[in-house]
C-alpha cells in the first residue's frame, strides 16, 4: 500500500474526526506539509463530506408529537397497568436483578448439599443398624439363649439337655 493511501485512510476518518494521538497527528501533518495530493484530498473531504453536516440546522419538533405520545400513553395505561404493576412488584422483590442468578445458584447448591447430607446420614444409620443386627445374630449368647417358651425347637433342646 502506498504511503499516501495509508494517510488518505487516516484523513478520511481519525484525522478529520480528531481521534488521532499526538504522534500520529504530527506524522500526518508533516506528510501533508510536503504532499500536495494529500493536502488537496484533505480539503476535498472537509468540504464535501464534513462541512455540509456540521452546518446543518436543527429541525423544529412538530407540535403534534407530544399530543400523539400523550394519546398513546392514555390508551395504553388501562390495558397494561395491572399486569405491569404485578410484574413491577415481582421485580421489586429482587433489589439487585443481576445478582439473582448467583443467589439462585447458592440456594440450589444449599438444597442439593442438604439432601445429600441427609441421605448419607440415613445410610450411615441403616448400615449401623444392620451391623448391630448381624453382630447380635452371630454372638454366642444370642445363639444359645432361649428366645421364648413358645419356640418348639428350644423346648426340645432344653429337654435333651
Amino acid at each position: 500500500m502506498k504511503k499516501c493511501d495509508i494517510f488518505k485512510d487516516l484523513i478520511l476518518t481519525d484525522y478529520i474526526d480528531g481521534e488521532l494521538d499526538k504522534n500520529n497527528k504530527a506524522s500526518i501533518e508533516s506528510h501533508l506539509f510536503e504532499c500536495d495530493e494529500c493536502r488537496a484530498f484533505l480539503k476535498e473531504v472537509k468540504d464535501k463530506a464534513g462541512l455540509p453536516f456540521q452546518k446543518v440546522l436543527r429541525q423544529p419538533v412538530p407540535s403534534e408529537l407530544w399530543d400523539a405520545i400523550k394519546q398513546n400513553i392514555e390508551q395504553e395505561i388501562p390495558v397494561t397497568a395491572p399486569l405491569d404493576v404485578f410484574i413491577d412488584k415481582l421485580k421489586g422483590l429482587f433489589v439487585f436483578p443481576r445478582l439473582v442468578p448467583i443467589f439462585a445458584s447458592l440456594v440450589l447448591m444449599l438444597l442439593v448439599g442438604t439432601v445429600t447430607w441427609n441421605t448419607m446420614q440415613i445410610r450411615q444409620t441403616q448400615d449401623k443398624d444392620q451391623a448391630e443386627y448381624l453382630v447380635s445374630l452371630l454372638s454366642p449368647t444370642s445363639i444359645l439363649a432361649p428366645s421364648g417358651n413358645n419356640d418348639p425347637a428350644t423346648q426340645i433342646e432344653h429337654y435333651f439337655l
Binding site: 476518518t13 464535501k48 463530506a49 453536516f53 446543518v56 408529537l65 400523550k70 395505561i77
Partner: protein, 190 residues
C-alpha cells in the same frame, strides 16, 4: 440535550405524566433530529419519535442509571430509526443533482452550504448512504459524538464505526466526483 435530573426520571418512571412531559421537553429536540436524519424524512421521523418516546415511557422503570440517560436515549433512537429505515426503506430524498439545481457547480454547492437552510442538501447526501452508515454519520458529524461514544450507542466495535464512516465518506466523495457532476450536469453515478 438539556440535563434531565434523576428525580424527574424517577418520577417519570413511576408514571408521573408531568415528569414525563419534562423528560419529553428535555429530549424531544435531539431525539426528533436524530430520527429525522436517519430515516431522512419528516413523516417517518414523527412516527419513529413517537415510538421512541413510547419505548422510553415503558422502559424507564428498568433504567438503572448505569449509563447516562442521553446515551440510553441515543441507543433507543438510533436502533429504532435504523430498524424503521431498513424495514420500510421509503427514503423520500431529493436526488443529489436536484438538490443542487440545473447546471450546478461545486462553488454553487459551497455557497449553498453557507445559506441558512442546509436541510435539503444534507437530506440528499444522507440519502446516498444505507441506514447503518447514516446513523454513524449523524452521530459523528451532526451530533458530534466520539468514536467510542458511537460504538457504545450502537453497540458495535470501534473499528466498525471507523470503517462505516470511511465507506460513507468515500461514497459521498464518489457521488460528487461523477463525470456528469464534473462537467456541470449534476449527474450522480451510483
Amino acid at each position: 440535550m438539556e440535563d434531565i435530573g434523576k428525580d424527574i426520571l424517577v418520577r417519570a418512571s413511576q408514571g408521573d405524566m408531568r415528569a414525563f412531559e419534562d423528560v419529553y421537553k428535555g429530549s424531544s429536540s435531539f431525539i426528533y433530529n436524530v430520527a429525522f436524519r436517519i430515516v431522512n424524512n419528516r413523516e417517518d421521523a414523527l412516527e419513529v419519535s413517537q415510538e421512541v418516546f413510547m419505548i422510553i415511557y415503558n422502559k424507564l422503570k428498568t433504567f438503572r442509571f448505569e449509563s447516562s440517560f442521553k446515551t440510553w436515549a441515543y441507543r433507543i433512537t438510533t436502533n429504532t430509526s435504523i430498524n424503521y429505515a431498513k424495514k420500510y426503506s421509503r427514503v423520500k430524498t431529493v436526488p443529489f443533482e436536484e438538490s443542487l439545481g440545473e447546471g450546478a457547480v461545486l462553488s454553487e454547492a459551497q455557497s449553498r452550504m453557507e445559506q441558512e437552510d442546509q436541510s435539503q442538501l444534507v437530506e440528499s447526501l444522507l440519502g446516498e448512504l444505507n441506514p447503518d452508515q447514516r446513523a454513524c454519520v449523524v452521530l459523528r458529524d451532526i451530533q458530534g459524538l466520539s468514536y467510542e461514544e458511537i460504538a457504545r450507542v450502537l453497540n458495535i466495535n470501534i473499528n466498525t464505526v471507523r470503517s462505516r464512516l470511511k465507506r460513507s465518506r468515500e461514497r459521498l466523495l464518489s457521488v460528487k466526483k461523477s463525470p456528469a457532476w464534473a462537467d456541470g450536469q449534476g449527474g450522480v453515478v451510483l
